[in-house]
């Protein structure tokens, strides 16, 4: 890809994620019962919605380096990863609306969004649970002598759960093709991750397990792209797992209804000023019209996705009893 095309592609991915998240947020108003917010009836997106607004540069910069055959695993905050890996916005919106035409047929929703056709192996409702799954997928690639790799996204809070250690150790012992991506938005739900994390941080932990990597400004999409491309090159050469620590910020609350009043106003203001999309637009040297064209296309895409999702059919009740297991199929009570 020529560097200008690449820059445009990065912009497009970020813009699509931002637009999707904004629309999903809008469609979810009132949709969660935690954090004291009540449920309302006209809600279109139900349940907890973890928005990646402000973190767009990380999935964009990483996934531009992946082919369709490469795989990713994600977290509860997975819309960005899904779009960046090439999934259809329309089918994701349908899923969030709980419709039969969604990726998961309405069975998963936001927290379990997946598109196996583009190698997106699933968001996960359990912090750090995607790490062993990514490692296993990479192990399977090795056993099958395939050339693809796996990118494994997780949050800063996840580095304090056991599977982080176990998964990294395993990947290195077996020299598996995985890029571990710590998408560090500084917060773990309502708690500052820093306050609960000892030592020199994620990369230091990875290095102690023999996994080299890089730390990068996760709001600088070109820097993320560059760092990821170097690491992924190494992985593709068979040099085993690598680690990327990308520092960014969570613009919104932990879930869409969380006002996040526990954060310092100045900290938030500083982060908003460092919006990865604004920063990119300021520095990219691309023509305004080009960017606006993309912006317009993106808005149309979102509007279409919302339209399609709102009109899409609900899953049949019977769908509750399919895709569970073959043995004993039908014996569901």
């Amino acid at each position: 890809m020529k560097s200008q095309d690449r820059a445009l592609a990065l912009y497009r991915t970020m813009a699509r994620i931002r637009a999707f998240e904004n629309a999903a947020e809008e469609a979810s108003r009132g949709g969660v019962s935690a954090f004291g917010a009540a449920l309302s009836n006209d809600v279109r997106v139900r349940g907890p919605l973890h928005l990646s607004t402000g973190q767009e540069a990380v999935p964009a910069g990483v996934c531009i380096n992946l082919a369709n055959e490469d795989l990713i695993t994600s977290t509860h905050r997975g819309h960005g990863h899904t779009l960046a890996k090439g999934a259809s916005m329309e089918k994701m919106m349908c899923e969030l609306f709980g419709r039969a035409t969604g990726f998961n047929g309405g069975k998963g929703g936001s927290m379990h969004i997946a598109d196996f056709s583009v190698g997106m192996l699933g968001a996960n409702g359990v912090v750090a649970a995607g790490i062993p799954i990514a490692v296993g997928a990479a192990h399977a690639l090795k056993v099958q002598a395939k050339k693809s790799i796996v990118a494994c996204f997780f949050g800063d809070g996840a580095i304090n759960r056991g599977p982080f250690l176990e998964g990294l150790n395993w990947a290195k012992v077996h020299e598996l093709p995985v890029l571990f991506v710590c998408e560090d938005n500084r917060w773990s739900a309502t708690t500052s991750t820093e306050a609960m994390t000892a030592g020199a941080g994620p990369l230091a932990r990875a290095k102690a397990i023999g996994i080299a990597g890089a730390e990068v400004d996760g709001n600088d999409v070109l820097a993320v792209d560059l760092a990821a491309s170097k690491l992924i090159n190494e992985i593709r050469k068979g040099k085993g797992p690598k680690f990327l620590h990308a520092i960014t910020y969570r613009f919104k609350g932990h879930v869409s209804v969380d006002p996040a009043t526990y954060r310092d106003g100045e900290e938030v203001a500083r982060a908003l000023a460092n919006d990865p999309i604004k920063v990119f637009v300021r520095n990219c040297g691309l023509k305004k019209e080009e960017l606006e064209k993309i912006q317009k296309q993106t808005h149309e895409e979102v509007a279409n996705a919302l339209r399609v999702a709102a009109a899409a059919p609900w899953p049949d009740k019977g769908g509750a009893y399919t895709d569970i297991q073959d043995a004993g199929s039908g014996q569901w009570t």
């Binding site: 349940g47 419709r99 309405g106 069975k107 927290m111 359990v126 056991g162 609960m196 899953p315 569901w332």
Partner: protein, 318 residues
Amino acid sequence: MDVGKSRLSYGGAACLALDRAMAADARVVALGEDVGRGGIFGQYRGLQQKFGGARVIDTPISESTIMGAAVGMALTGLKPVVEMRVVDFALCAMDEIVNQAAKARYMFGGQGRVPLVARLPIGIWTGSAAQHSQSLEAWFAHVPGLVVVTPGTPQDNHSLLAAAIDSGDPVIYMEHKELWSLEGEVVPGEKISLGKAKILQAGSDVTLVTWSRTVQTALEAVKRAKNISVELIDLRTIWPWDRETVLASAAKTRRLVVAHEAVRVAGFGAEIAATVAEELGIPVKRVGGARIPVGYSLPLEDEARIDVEGILRALTNF
């Protein structure tokens, strides 16, 4: 706060119980993710401000160590209240609950005890799908050493949490994910014993045993069960369950229905139904969730829930 009745939410009633317990006994501490901010359901609101970060302890996202550390604390003189947010995440701490907390006192021949309360909310949590909607009370009833409590009302959540903290046993304390904002009259400090069921309504034709959020569904079903006189029992404690009350009621009505939100297959309803069948040889029925993961989309989620009609059908179809 302590005099007379207050109108409190289910979550607030528990918070008040913990507040009182911490004020009364310096050994009581609380620990878990986000407790410092009051817990994501407000169930620890104000406690860190009042008792400080040394007793209301924010933790990393480390479920194994939250539970394991609580066991260590309990063995050495504290009485920890452990926040797991939802039972589904406690699956990351099952060794610590089942191999350590439940067995330590016995394995060590009584040299130590494990007085801790682990809060593992159960139930379908609307729109939260399969990994946030499980009800696993039957699992813990199966594990020697554990007490299992499932409060269904603000008063019970107040009084039973206090009793659990008091008990000196490892207690799996299972609030319901969709009851946090349920309001009700609460008499602060009122005592309720672990292991005691409550007869919510006397009746003569059929005994209906239930617990947790399903109490609400059952009340509605009872209201609509026209020509049958139902004796409705809120079990409240799953282990030790109140066999006496249930058996006495069933011996009188000669029919038993157990209803719970948990998956019917191998749910705790099976234990109760089997016991009653063994002891009394009367007709028994169970109403429980289908053996399916809980889907995200509303029509799918609804399939995983038990409803008033299902209970009504059971009550009327003997």
